[in-house]
């Protein structure tokens, strides 16, 4: 069983209200050294066999098609799980 991990993040120029809420809560809890936070998504896709280049290319296609919206998000990583 292989697993592909895909990370999707909001684009830097798009306001990230969830990240803003997180950084605000961190500051209130004393984690004031963290000046900013952005919140993204991690997907784990399982395949029956090995994760090879072809599987990674298909996963990248799935990330572009469904898992991310290119208007507001970037796919920052498509990789085999450790």
């Amino acid at each position: 069983m292989g697993r592909v991990v895909i990370d999707v993040m909001p684009k830097p120029e798009i306001l990230d209200p969830q990240g803003k809420a997180v950084v605000g809560a961190l500051a209130r809890l004393g984690f004031a050294e963290f000046a900013d936070a952005r919140q993204g998504k991690r997907f784990e896709l399982e395949v029956d066999g090995e994760v090879d280049a072809e599987v990674l290319e298909r996963a990248a296609e799935a990330a572009r098609t469904l898992l991310s919206n290119p208007v507001i998000e970037d796919v920052v990583a498509v990789r085999a799980a450790d």
């Binding site: 306001l15 209200p17 969830q18 919206n69 208007v71 507001i72």
Partner: protein
């Protein structure tokens, strides 16, 4: 004139949209997202709600429903100058239209992170669309607004193009309720056949059940919930279909 309303799993305002079409004088046609064909409709409404629980992103999964593929095919590309099937996306329907790339941009979580629900003042700036031809340019209207992820975003080039081509259909007046760029509440495609907006015109179609209007507090004019400013979205579509 047959106007369809697509029900997705999690749609909430499909019944209100069907009712608005009936009050406007059209024949409402309930459609199911899993249908393969559109049952000879002349126009279609994508209603508000939370299709697929807003999982992944609002509208992201509804976009791939069998019926949405057919609607996208008949609506045509967003930059086409010849009008295709008239489509109105309200709230979640607007999100579905953006996810489907039938309209540019995207809707993100409100900048203040709160769900907003109120009677909203709007200015109608685009009156050449299939859904707003019954309004006058610059007319101010009041319809309910209720969303958690209603912030309209797009890159500057897209925003400039929308403004330049007259594709900003409605704009928020007063306090921006959700952080939408340039106070944009609704837009159209290039031909004006496809319109998406976050506010809910289908909730302002019958006196006594609509929003409060400016006239409501003036003696002798209007009354509680007398706002019917949304009705002309639906009568506009009927007019457009008749003259087509």
């Amino acid at each position: 004139m047959r106007i369809g309303v697509v029900t997705f799993p999690g749609s909430l305002d499909d019944r209100d949209a069907l009712r608005a079409i009936r009050i406007a004088g059209g024949t409402p046609v309930p459609l199911w997202h899993g249908d393969a064909e559109l049952h000879k409709i002349d126009a279609v409404v994508l209603p508000g709600g939370f299709s697929y629980g807003d999982y992944l992103r609002c509208g992201a999964i509804a976009r791939f429903a069998p019926l949405m593929r057919e609607i996208a095919r008949l609506a045509g590309p967003p930059d086409a100058t010849a009008p295709g099937l008239p489509v109105l996306g309200i709230c979640n329907g607007f999100q579905v239209l953006c996810e489907s790339h039938l309209l540019p941009g995207a809707l993100v979580r409100n900048d203040h992170r709160h769900f907003v629900c109120r009677d909203q003042r709007l200015r109608v700036e685009g009156t050449k669309t299939a859904w707003t031809n019954g309004y006058t340019d610059g007319e101010e209207i009041v319809v309910p607004l209720k969303n958690g992820e209603g912030g309209y975003v797009a890159d500057d080039a897209t925003l400039d193009r929308l403004e330049g081509e007259g594709q900003v259909v409605v704009r928020y007046l007063g306090v921006n309720p959700n952080g939408s760029y340039r106070d944009i509440a609704g837009i159209s495609n290039a031909s004006g056949s496809v319109v998406g907006l976050m506010p809910h015109p289908e909730h302002a179609v019958e006196a006594g059940y609509g929003p409060e209007t400016a006239g409501a507090e003036i003696a002798g004019r209007g009354g509680p919930g007398d706002g019917t400013d949304g009705l002309r979205f639906f009568t506009s579509a009927l007019q457009g279909v008749l003259s087509a």
